[in-house]
């Protein structure tokens, strides 16, 4: 019976388990000097405190905007550039997810198709004689949604970084959701207010001063009852902003500076140069920030927005302008935040439950199996260390339900040994020698243990698949617990027990007559 190889593996696993789980038991000061791969298991937001926000991107809004835009594009394309032949059409309409129009002159069909074809491969043009339908292809919509999602994540990240949060995490979930996790933030009110803002800035001329075809009214940001009527046409938009900072005017009132990029600054210069003495309105998310009168041409792309801002308001505004506009509105659809008090309480409760559970099971083992029970206890400890070691090494997140999973694993982990000991006793009573009984028991019980554990594993995997946040933490510890307890309960236990039975010719719970 050569167990040397097995023993070496067990020794190796014991050392590995101790080394990997050690960071969980050393004081904070020592942890800092440990290498990156040796860190304690990271705690979930429910244990360390923090905020979890699930944001929904309004894809309906995106679709709407895109269709409006498409309608405009179709009109422009059909009319063509100056000097080109105009396509004459009527009843250009926006239907659900398509733009339709009718040609006045059927002879222009080929020309229309040729021009509309230039809109790109994501746009599909079909016609039945004079009636045309233009729409985005399915692939086109997929691309649009993906772009919006990526852009949203990027902008939210910029804003959160600007707010100076530590260790924030922003992840995409599904096709239109973002999960934002902010450790240490227990009242995320200002975060919610700031990351949800679209921050779409546009500059319009005030209608009264220039006169224009279509106008729109916006209320002032600080007085919803006072509105300004402006031209619908956008003179300059926030896309061309390069930077924005908080500034103070001569009398110490806060405002923000705006610096435009190259193209933007030329546009701004033309706009200001051509409209001296007239007013323009700076509109953010449908509200007028200010509507100053243009005093003279402004070269270099530097502008200022002063109005009636508080200091904080000016700070937030400059941050929003700097980080850019969200492609679509974001709404918080789920929020979970845990304060530091509750988190600490949960850690304490979980630790105590774990220790007491461990102690109870260990005592039970000794009461039942005597000396052999002590060895089972040793194997159980190894199981716990191994579980913690693996969780730490792979950077898994421990949640409160996860701790419950560990406690539960404790109770179920000894099952393997119970099954094997029971079987040994039975085989020996059938007349087998102690060693033979042990061998048969291990061989036979392994199949049972495998079948029994696979079913638990199945439940754990489905929990992970369908669960969220803390529940996933539970599924992970449960599944890992099943795997480690199978390894310790079968492999490690056999390596220790079989030679022992061979040497002493004794076995748990059974005295040779």
């Amino acid at each position: 019976m050569n167990f040397l190889g097995r023993r070496l593996i067990v020794v190796f696993v014991v050392i590995l388990a101790i080394v990997l789980s050690l960071p969980n038991f050393v004081p904070e000061g020592v942890r800092k000097h440990l290498p990156e791969s040796l860190q304690p298991v990271s705690l979930g937001l429910d244990l360390r405190g923090g905020a979890y926000l699930l944001m929904d991107i309004s894809m309906e809004q995106v679709e709407n905007d895109r269709m409006q835009q498409l309608k405009g594009l179709v009109r422009q394309t059909l009319i063509g550039e100056q000097g080109q032949e105009k396509v004459r059409f009527e009843s250009l309409r926006l239907r659900e997810k398509s733009v339709t129009f009718t040609l006045r002159n059927p002879d222009q069909k080929d020309l229309s198709i040729k021009r509309l074809f230039k809109l790109g491969e994501d746009i599909d043009v079909s016609d039945s004689g004079k009636d045309f339908t233009v729409q985005y292809t399915d692939a086109g919509w997929v691309k649009i949604r993906k772009d919006v999602l990526e852009k949203s994540i990027e902008i939210v990240r910029r804003r959160i970084d600007a707010l100076g949060m530590k260790e924030p995490s922003i992840q995409q979930q599904g096709e239109r959701r973002l999960v934002i996790q902010l450790p240490g933030v227990d009242t995320p009110e200002n975060v919610k207010a700031l990351i949800g803002k679209t921050a779409k800035m546009t500059i319009h001329m005030v209608a009264e001063d220039v006169g224009c075809a279509t106008t729109i009214s916006y209320p002032y940001h600080n007085n919803p009852n006072q509105t300004v009527e402006v031209c619908r046409e956008v003179e300059l938009s926030g896309e061309y902003l390069a930077d924005s900072r908080v500034i103070y005017d001569e009398s110490g009132r806060p405002g923000v500076s705006t610096t435009f990029t190259g193209i933007g600054s030329r546009q701004f210069e033309t706009l200001t140069g051509e409209n001296i003495g007239k007013r323009f309105a700076i509109v953010l998310d449908g509200k007028v920030l200010s509507a100053p009168t243009i005093q003279g041409r402004i070269p270099g792309g530097n502008g200022q927005i002063t109005g009636s801002f508080g200091v904080q308001e000016a700070k937030d505004l400059s941050m929003l302008l700097r980080s850019g506009a969200l492609p679509a509105p974001l709404t918080v659809v789920e929020e979970r935040s845990v304060g530091p008090g509750l988190g600490a309480d949960s850690v304490r409760a979980g630790t105590i439950a774990c220790l007491v559970g461990l102690l109870l099971v260990m005592i039970a083992m000794v009461l039942i199996y005597g000396f052999w029970g002590l060895i089972v206890d040793g194997i159980l400890m190894l199981n716990i260390l191994l579980l913690f070691g693996i969780l730490s090494f792979f950077g898994a997140t421990l949640t409160l339900p996860g701790i419950a999973g560990i406690v539960l694993t404790l109770g179920m982990a000894v099952d393997a040994n119970v099954l094997i000991f029971d079987r040994m006793r039975e085989e020996a009573s059938n007349g087998l020698s102690a060693l033979r009984a042990a061998q048969v028991a291990y061989d036979r019980a392994f199949i049972t243990i495998l079948d029994a554990n696979v079913t638990t594993l199945v439940a754990a995997i489905l929990l992970f698949q369908f669960g969220t946040g803390p529940i996933r933490g539970f599924a992970v510890t449960l599944a890992l617990g099943v795997l480690t307890s199978m390894f310790t309960g079968v492999f490690v236990s056999r390596t220790i027990f079989e030679p022992k039975v061979y040497k002493t010719n004794k076995m748990p719970l059974f005295k040779k007559k």
Partner: protein, 287 residues
């Protein structure tokens, strides 16, 4: 001398003799649970209904009734928890996310500055619906997958027996939630899945022995064979249930408020799961 030597290696209980009695009891429990679920209804948490739930630390002079009065316009459910040191406030969900966030803000404004929020949970109406859906899917697929595994490893009748026992456990556990008015939330779904895993674990151990004995004793009467298998695995069934029970007790006593519904459900589930393996899953094989 130790305890387990008192338990015979192979017990000689006549489990199947009580098959009928067990069937009557289980049927009553299942019907009773369904009745409770239908007529009394589950105490759904905000995970499923949507809404707002916060826990705050009591400040001086703050009482449950004073809070109720203060927040009257929001129509809150206020409850003292955690040995009276903290208060939980629940507001009903609204059909619109923005409105819900506005209600949270309003509550925070009314309560004023200097309040310690231990936890804030807001679940929007859309997410609530999705979470229910996911919970139901998880449960459905778990039962199906477990039954499938047993069907592959054993036989059709075994899969059927395990499935019936699992459904029995799941329904009675949900009935238990209604009976003691435990909040039914995502954690509760996790608890039920865990119970399913535990229960089937127990069942598989006995089934495994039945399968082995079927090869060993080809001529034995099936009823006696089942009894024999149950008896042979009996000391293991008791021991493992005991250790798991002990661990879960630790969870119930020390695990704290947040885990309460999870821990109680598990405690109940360990008992039901053990019972159903012996009295439902195995007798089902003899049809």
């Amino acid at each position: 001398m130790n305890l387990m030597q008192l338990v015979p290696i192979t017990a000689k209980f006549k489990f199947l003799k009580y098959k009928l009695l067990a069937r009557v009891i289980s049927s009553l429990l299942v019907v009773g649970s369904i009745g409770l679920i239908v007529f009394k209804g589950l105490n759904f948490g905000i995970d499923f209904t949507g809404g707002i739930a916060v826990e705050i630390v009591k400040t001086e002079g703050m009482t449950v009734s004073s809070l109720r009065q203060q927040l009257d316009s929001l129509n809150p459910e206020v409850q003292s928890i955690g040995e009276g040191k903290t208060v939980s406030i629940r507001l009903q969900g609204s059909p619109d996310e923005e409105e819900e966030m506005a209600r949270l803000k309003e509550m925070k404004v009314i309560l004023g500055e200097g309040i310690e929020y231990r936890s804030v949970d807001v679940v929007g109406p859309k997410v609530g619906g999705e979470l229910i859906e996911r919970g139901v899917y998880a449960l459905f697929f778990a039962l199906l997958a477990i039954a499938f595994y047993i069907w592959i490893r054993f036989d059709t009748i075994f899969a059927l027996g395990a499935l019936v026992a699992l459904l029995h456990d799941v329904i009675i556990t949900i009935g238990f939630f209604v009976l003691i008015n435990l909040e039914f939330n995502l954690t509760a779904v996790a608890a039920i899945l865990t119970i399913a895993g535990y229960s089937v674990n127990d069942t598989v151990v006995v089934y495994d022995r039945v399968r082995e004995n079927m090869r060993k004793f080809r001529k034995k009467e099936f009823k006696d064979l089942l009894d024999l298998s149950l008896n042979e695995t009996f000391s293991r069934t008791i021991l493992t249930s005991l250790t798991t029970f002990l661990a879960v007790i630790a969870l119930v006593v020390f695990g704290g408020n947040v885990l309460a519904s999870f821990s109680y459900a598990l405690l109940f589930g360990v008992i039901v799961g053990t019972y159903s393996s012996v009295y439902i899953a195995v007798p089902m094989l003899r049809q």
